[in-house]
């Protein structure tokens, strides 16, 4: 059985091979996968952690602001996909995770609580494990949380590390979420995010994909409430025969919402990457603004890059903008470095560090930043 993930909200030519990603042999994964222990540090007063069953999880998700399955836009062949609490990887992946019958981890911040210290959420996949973890992060009204999740394993390990994270931000809530993937080089990694944002809610999302072999990441952020904001920065390094398949959708429904997504990647060796980034202005999102930016540095002539920046729009009073630049380091950059005596190789290294650095520095924990530094030293 194959499962399709990261489906493009509005399909295009099939022969380009960009409409969706495929995870092969998923039934095999389903047979082998199990739950895994996770650790949480820094749970202050007002922040609770517990494991819940499927029904309770569903009740919590259903209570989130207007999450309805949708598929049809008049005059177009079916676009979007039917999924009750929409995520980037999509409904097939949800069904796959549900098939494992695991508990859901629930992290809740009570209304009005604003703990200062970040919660550090660590998942160690050890050696050659095949495991899945799913969680709901629920930040109450006017509450605020900083959460740093990181996934690691032994450096040479292979296996399957699946993550499914659903985020509910009530009105006025704020979540600063970082996900750092530092898995062994043989890992199949899936990391899914779905988020539902109430009025004035603010989601800041940093994602670093540094290890693993075949990586699928998806994020769908439903900006339902007026003036909700979504800021994301994703950086990735893909090496050897590795691949990364990315989908980010900012669905701007409320009035005066803002989205700002940036994607920085480096492809080495014969790495392959597909990225789909969508700004989706829905009817009623008057006054909204959306930006997305993609930079891909290709450091090998065997690397392959596919990019798909969508802007979908059914509202007049919006402003959307996208910019992409793909290829080797531009001549004017190399020349500037050159005039300071820095050769091409060193310039490339500095630019790679700079790209990863812009995301790393946003992670508000020195220990995690150090671990990122040593992971990079070990692998680059």
């Amino acid at each position: 059985m194959n499962i399709t993930v990261n489906r493009l909200p509005d399909l295009t030519w099939n022969r380009l091979g960009m409409n969706y990603g495929v995870i092969r042999d998923a039934d095999n994964l389903l047979r082998q996968a199990a739950g895994i222990d996770t650790t949480q540090e820094g749970l202050e007063a007002g922040v609770s952690y517990r494991r819940i069953g499927r029904e309770e999880a569903q009740r919590i998700l259903d209570a989130a602001p207007a999450q309805v399955p949708e598929k049809i836009v008049a005059g177009k062949l079916p676009i979007y996909h039917a999924q009750r609490f929409a995520t980037g990887l999509g409904g097939d992946y949800d069904a796959f995770v549900a098939g494992l019958g695991l508990d859901t981890e629930l992290l809740e911040v009570a209304a009005g609580e604003r703990p200062e210290a970040p919660v550090l959420w660590h998942v160690d996949f050890y050696d050659s494990s095949c495991a899945v973890t799913q969680q709901i992060i629920h930040v109450g009204k006017n509450a605020s949380l900083t959460l740093i999740m990181d996934y690691s394993s032994a450096p040479e390990a292979c296996g399957f590390a699946g993550i499914s994270t659903k985020v509910i931000l009530e009105d006025g809530a704020r979540l600063h979420l970082s996900k750092v993937q530092m898995l062994g080089r043989g890992y199949l990694h899936t990391d899914d995010l779905g988020a539902s944002l109430g009025a004035g809610a603010d989601l800041i999302f940093n994602q670093l994909e540094l290890g693993g072999e075949d990586v699928y990441v998806g994020a769908q952020v439903e900006q339902i409430g007026d003036k909700s904001r979504f800021t994301s920065r994703l950086a990735y390094l893909t090496r050897k025969k590795g691949s990364i398949d990315i989908t980010y959708n900012a669905v701007q429904r409320g009035r005066k919402t803002e989205s700002d997504m940036s994607f920085d990647g480096v492809l080495y060796d014969s790495a392959k990457k597909i990225w789909r980034g969508t700004i989706d202005f829905r009817n009623g999102s008057a006054g909204s603004v959306g930006h997305e930016n993609e930079n891909v540095l290709m450091l090998s002539e065997d690397a392959e890059n596919k990019s798909m920046p969508l802007i979908l729009c059914e509202e007049e009073d919006v402003e959307g903008q996208h910019g992409s630049s793909i290829g080797r380091l531009a001549d004017d950059i190399l020349f500037y470095f050159g005039t300071r005596g820095i050769d091409e190789r060193a310039a490339e290294e500095m630019m790679v560090d700079a790209r990863i650095g812009t995301v790393t520095r946003e992670i508000p924990d020195a220990g995690v930043r150090e671990r990122i530094g040593s992971f990079l030293q070990r692998t680059v």
């Binding site: 001549d331 020349f335 470095f337 300071r340 005596g341 820095i342 060193a346 500095m350 630019m351 650095g357």
Partner: protein, 255 residues
Amino acid sequence: MAEQLLQVRNLNVSVEDTELLHGVSLDVNAGETHVLMGPNGAGKSTLGYTLMGNPAYHVTGGSIVFDGEDITGLSADKRAQRGMFLSFQTPLEVPGLTLSAFLLSAMRQKTGKPVKIFAFQKELEETMRLLHMDPSFAERDLNVGLSGGEKKKAEILQLLMLRPKFAILDETDSGLDVDAVRTVSAGIEEYQKKRGGALLVITHSTRILEALSVDYTHVLVKGRLVYTGGPELVDDINEHGFERFEAASAAEKKQ
């Protein structure tokens, strides 16, 4: 006799298929300051980029000798490592790369040795003070979010830190207010007088030259060096413009 530093001979330069410089020759000795003036589009920046080795500018004839070595075919980093420098009109912005990390890397590449961090930081702080730069700029991303004036100061900061033998300043004074011009001039003066560096100052105003001692002034018109004079030429041009040089250039072309 002064030590020869740069000899440019009969330089022809093309971008894409258009020739922009025609047979330019220029000699700069160690420690000398040369000013390059000329109307818009004369090819002043082209000359600066070519001397520094921008790959978009193709040398189709002539040669550039620096410090006794023909560098016509060298890449920009090799030229910089031999002691050349170019201050850009619009310097590069690199998010995620701090100014100090950038400088450290450049110095390491130049010497091939690790840089002594403490001494480096001390020198950086002192130089920034000289240029009236906020010390926090060292840890900010290279040129990101800086104003035009701050960017120019950051270029001069790099000039002072990297200690080249010969620096090309491309319109370093354009777009600066009076105070910033004064600060930048002080930085250049430091390079010129205390460190004995040679300069090619590309400008079309004279404000930046007031504090500097100029040895030669060259006038570039339509890709040709049409006149070379002393420091007095700067004032002359300031007063009368380029008209007579342009007329001379046109007459020369007719013959």
